[in-house]
């Protein structure tokens, strides 16, 4: 039995249920209401409230229920990372596969991957996030998704190219050439089976990595989406206005001492999601390996 695939599949099912059926649960406050002070028998309580019957995972500094925030943010979080990885892999598939056939594309891919290999992607994304047209754009989230996708295109493109080069060196590939296959048949029957496995497994594990990257941005205060709040005396302040999970980590410096439930539940759900993707990725790899190599 493929343990990784089974457990990963179950965890994925749980995540999807949380995302789509979660809002229907009675404990979930879909309006994400804020709460000021609470009067109890012992006196007055101010947020952040620790976990209780009312807020199963506690509340944040504005008195919003953490469990509701997680459910409300699930759909957006999954969509954002899916969009990032989809764009990344669409571009890198074109570049990676194309670089086997065309010299120009090979040059583009190699410049792209070398350019970004001298700076950690996190710095590059922060830099782009601060450009005026990204800060003030009405479509900031789309810009950010494209930027995060783009900085790692070099890496994934290289990976696809390596997989192609690897297949091309094998003797079964030579057999294909000798037997007179057309370029298309060669691609479909000789490259694609291996390539598909590389793309699918890395696609899924990249979703986990991307979630972690966005979490790192939130810790240092770079958000995918901005709202503008006017400040007295002119000017505006950019504030986060999305519910995606990582943004719950924005006060991690203080929360880790005084409201550890915020940190623990956010990090918990992010970890759960990352482990899910990791399990699925390794499960799918095993599934195909067992299918094609009966001996192992």
């Amino acid at each position: 039995m493929n343990k990784h695939l089974t457990i990963g599949g179950l965890m994925m099912a749980f995540l999807l249920v949380l995302t789509f059926l979660g809002p229907l649960l009675p404990v979930i406050d879909n309006s994400i209401s804020q709460e000021g002070v609470r009067f109890t028998d012992e006196g007055i309580e101010v947020p952040p409230f620790p976990p209780s019957a009312e807020d199963p995972l506690g509340s944040d500094r504005e008195g919003r229920d953490i469990l509701s925030l997680i459910v409300a943010g699930a759909q957006e979080t999954l969509l954002v990372i899916l969009a990032i990885v989809l764009i990344r892999f669409a571009v890198s598939a074109v570049l990676g596969i194309g670089s086997y056939y065309f010299k120009t594309i090979r040059a583009v891919l190699s410049i792209w991957s070398q350019l970004f290999s001298f700076m950690p992607s996190i710095f590059i994304v922060i830099f782009f996030a601060g450009l005026p047209f990204v800060v003030f754009s009405e479509h900031r989230q789309i810009w950010m998704i494209v930027i995060i996708a783009a900085v790692e295109v070099g890496r994934t493109g290289d990976m696809i190219k390596t997989s192609m080069d690897y297949s091309a060196k094998k003797s079964f590939f030579e057999a294909g050439i000798v037997s007179g296959c057309s370029q298309w048949t060669l691609f479909k029957n000789y490259f694609w089976p291996d390539l598909r496995l590389t793309i699918v497994t890395n696609f899924i594990s990249d979703m986990g990595r991307t979630l972690f990257l966005i979490a790192q941005f939130a810790i240092i205060g770079v958000y995918l989406q901005n709202a503008f709040w006017s400040i007295r005396g002119g000017g505006v302040e950019t504030v986060n206005n999305s519910f995606i999970w990582p943004t719950l980590l924005q006060n991690i410096h203080r929360d880790v001492f005084t409201a550890e439930w915020v940190v623990l539940s956010t990090v918990g759900i992010i970890t759960f999601t990352m482990v899910t993707f990791y399990l699925l990725s390794s499960g799918i790899r095993k599934y195909y390996q067992n299918k094609y190599h009966q001996s192992s």
Binding site: F118, F228, G233
Partner: protein, 314 residues
Amino acid sequence: MGTRILKLLLQWLAAFSVLMILLLLPREVEIQSGPSGEFEAAHYQYSIAAHAESIKEFFTPLINGEGFGTDSYNRPFISHAWDMMQRSLWLIIPAFFISIFTGVAKGVFDFKTRHGKRKFAGLQTTWIGLSVPDIVFIIFIQMILMYLNMKGIITGLSLYGAGNPEAIVLNVIYLSIFPMFYLANITFSALSDENGADYIRTARAKGSSSFKLLYIHMLRNGLAKIFVHTNTIVLYLLSNLFVIEYFTNYRGAAYYFKEYIAVSNVINGPDSLLLNTGAIAAFAFFFTILILLAGLISQVARGFLLPHERGGNG
């Protein structure tokens, strides 16, 4: 090997130049205010002339020998960046070597225990380390230390800020966690690949001991594959450094680089989104040099380790 090193130097030069051109993008915005001074809209227009002007403004003092400029305390940015870089090197260099040695050791251990019950201590833990984000380990270590502190078992540790040895030790541990598991995984697959090779079968048939097989033959050849990843390791180290320095208030190069590169949240005039290009250029210079050095080390190590490169004319 010489041409490869030259190629790497040229790549660095090209990448650094492109980063500088991006950095010098014009950033003035036009802010449109309402009757009582409230924000209404912002307009931004890119022009090549403005971009060229900003590049010229940046390079004129550089050519005149004034360097990257000075900060508000009149300290040159380049020496400030170098001082902070030294602080960060106290974390990066030990973390680099610790993650390489423990990572390779863990990979060898995983390989030796790949069958049977000990797999749980080997492959399974590597697997957990790779899939669980390292911030989880960091938060747990911090919480355990805080708990011990409250119980009075270990007290007086100062975990935040720079300059105290315990903060450095802990930050080195935090930094090495992920690269270690990453390398363990690479080492394991490198060893598994070598395992089926013909020369191993030959060596085994000739009666070499399994110790010699693993450490002399397989690891030696596997190391070449492992050293391909030094660049990735350094990139991981640097991007984690950034989160860890920020999280533990360790004021090193990554901390200040982030301070300079992230724009302010408050926008109240046309210059609000301007960056301190001199400071960023100084820090970016050291960071890219560090990555370049890692690349060079990796090239030299490959030259010494790869059997067909040792004998070849490179």
